[in-house]
Amino acid sequence: MKTLILGVGNSILTDDGVGIKIAHKLKEGNPELEVTETSEAGIALLDLMAGYDKLIIIDSIRTEKGKPGELYKLGLEALKPAANLSSSHGIDIATAYEIGQRLGYRMPKYISIYAVEIKDNTTFGERCTEEVEARIPFIAEQIIGEEKL
């Protein structure tokens, strides 16, 4: 099965880049994995995900009562309500996936989306906050276990 691991985020915006760091961590442990990073979202993901059987997305998230460093696994349907668009980033993964399917692209049959609860994604900085940084190795292990990588 052709699998892509996609780290999504902005690596100079403190915790925003945590998905990219985890994706690199996975690659360190297993150089044969196909890992890509992107700071784009939405429709640009279509170009990246087409042609794979399986896609593992690792991104950041901020929820109301979440604890920084916590890991969530989301289904595509969790992102589904975002049907209306207002910025160039305004196309969610689910819509990008649906567009790909309708246009006849070979889209991944299996998609896992991992989201790491973060603390700060509005301050420029190359390092994550301590709470999030400390969890990276553990989260990488969790994803390896979950996806049997």
Binding site: I12, D47, L74, G90, A115, T122, E146
Partner: protein, 486 residues
């Protein structure tokens, strides 16, 4: 592992928030758009080598990295006082136009266009690219994707990567274009020109032949008589990559024309206590508040502003489209905010024609691609027209080229006063005697979507889109209604 569903409240944190304040009569008194603040870019940059900036600044914004890359590269030319070779300038301009064409088409078909193609009254869930495909046909969707793919390939060929280019150096570019690559770029340019002609004919059929849409476009709700700004070449034609900054007044008369190095003589930033956004205004007119007209220093940038600030387009087909637009709308300047969408298509055609012209230029494959800097750096300023408007990078360094000061004037900031005015005008037109119709959310969104604002672009956290919340307060400051679009 914890499983969650994202609810609208969690999506909203720090994102697009519009606050509307009513007066004693229950009519809109003022409205303001709040957006997240990103902190510390200047501090982050200081102490770094200036030549890192073309690569660092691409990461500020996932939407227009090529614009930041190019503005930064041009600031480095100026910092080291080195003139790029003519081939390097052409290569840069070619890449930049491929980026503009791709970005404009993305916006028209995915973001702004659905309002028209699917219809402003259609349910929110249908006003997206899938709705466009449903109405305009699957073939259209395929063409949009193919157009983007080809232009992104041009960016990859020249820039090294399709998203975050790495080719810009002070005095030139890092890689020449091969003959084989030239052929690919020519094909992309030809595809782009054909596609943009098709997009304009689609606009003609679906929008211009529908009286309801035309009335909406030209109606007063979305109109502001402001100043307009854009880069122009030596013939006052639109240029995205280089030239002088030209400003016209609300009557279309030239108000100022200057080199970017003198921007501080013309552009100032106004600060309001309720937002972190700085509002650009014309220094020589002055800040008079969120009002339009000749007495107010508020100006607009981006597609319609560029067309208004110029005397035309430098390529033949785009010039025809430019003439048609102004003839249809009764001459220059046009003040209707929704016409930004039409202007965006005219510009996409120009950008595609320019890609083709430059790809056919004999010098484009030259190996004379960089002049090495020899001067001691001190201060450098660069400008380009980002898809969303005039973008300025200003750097100061020590004599080793280590940054000591950074100031960026970004496109959305130049439009931010006008965006607030547009939101307020839509709210004033729609809210009467305390009655807040649900449709206001869409009408307000249409106002600011025309500007293609880049507010959510620097953070990428899921779900990767900008939610919107509108809160309405009565004259006593109590919340009377909250509308959420997630």
């Amino acid at each position: 592992m914890k499983k969650i569903t994202i609810d609208p409240i969690t999506r909203l944190e720090g994102h697009g928030k519009i606050e509307i304040f009513l007066n004693d009569e229950g009519n809109c008194d003022r409205a303001c758009l709040q957006i997240p603040e990103l902190r510390g870019f200047e501090k982050f940059s200081e102490g770094r080598a200036a030549e890192e900036m073309p690569r660092i600044t691409t990461m500020i914004c996932g939407v227009c990295p090529t614009a930041h890359h190019m503005a930064a590269t041009k600031a480095l030319d100026d910092l080291w006082k080195v003139e790029p070779t003519t081939a390097a300038k052409k290569i840069r301009e070619l890449m930049y136009n491929a980026f503009q064409a791709e970005d404009h088409i993305l916006h028209f078909f995915f973001l702004g266009g659905p309002d028209f193609v699917v219809g402003p009254q259609a349910p929110a869930g249908e006003r997206n690219i899938l709705g466009v495909i449903a109405k305009a046909g699957m073939e259209t969707g395929g063409k949009v994707i193919e157009m983007r793919k080809r232009m992104r390939n041009v960016l990859r060929i020249i820039g090294g990567k399709p998203v975050m280019p790495t080719c810009g150096l002070p005095g030139g570019v890092s890689k020449q274009i091969s003959e084989d690559e030239r052929k690919t770029i020519i094909e992309a340019g030809e595809y782009g020109v054909d596609f943009c002609k098709f997009a304009l004919s689609l606009f003609d059929d679906i929008v211009l032949k529908n009286k309801e849409y035309v009335d909406l476009i030209t109606g007063d709700v979305y109109s502001h008589r402001t100043y307009y700004m854009g880069l122009v070449d030596e013939n006052n034609k639109v240029n995205f990559y280089d030239g002088q900054i030209r400003v016209v007044d609300p009557n279309g008369k030239e108000f100022a024309k200057f080199k970017v190095q003198n921007y501080l003589d013309h552009i100032r930033e106004h600060v309001e206590p309720w937002t972190y956004v700085k509002f650009s205004y014309l220094k020589n007119v002055g800040w008079k508040g969120f009002v339009d007209g000749e007495e107010s220093g508020v100006f607009r940038v981006a597609p319609l502003a560029r067309l208004n600030a110029s005397d035309g387009m430098a390529t033949p087909l785009a010039q025809e489209a430019y003439d048609k637009m102004y003839e249809t709308l009764g001459g220059k300047p046009v003040h209707s905010t929704l016409v930004f969408h039409w202007a965006r298509l005219v510009e996409a055609l120009y950008a595609s024609e320019r890609v083709l012209e430059l790809a056919k230029d004999p010098e484009i494959t030259s190996d004379d691609i960089v002049n090495l800097p020899t001067e001691t750096p001190k201060e450098g300023i660069g400008v380009v027209e980002a898809p969303r408007g005039t973008l300025i990078h200003h750097y100061q360094t020590d004599d080793q080229g280590i940054l000591t000061g950074v100031n960026l004037i970004v496109a959305t900031q130049n439009n931010s006063a006008a965006i607030n005015m547009s939101v307020e005008k839509a709210a004033k037109a729609l809210i009467k005697k305390g009655e807040v119709p649900d449709g206001i959310l869409n009408m307000i969104e249409m106002a600011f979507r025309a500007y293609d604002p880049c507010h959510a672009c620097a953070t990428h956290s899921l779900p990767g889109m900008m939610p919107l919340e509108v809160s309405v307060y009565d004259s006593g400051g109590s919340l009377v209604k909250k509308l959420v679009r997630d």
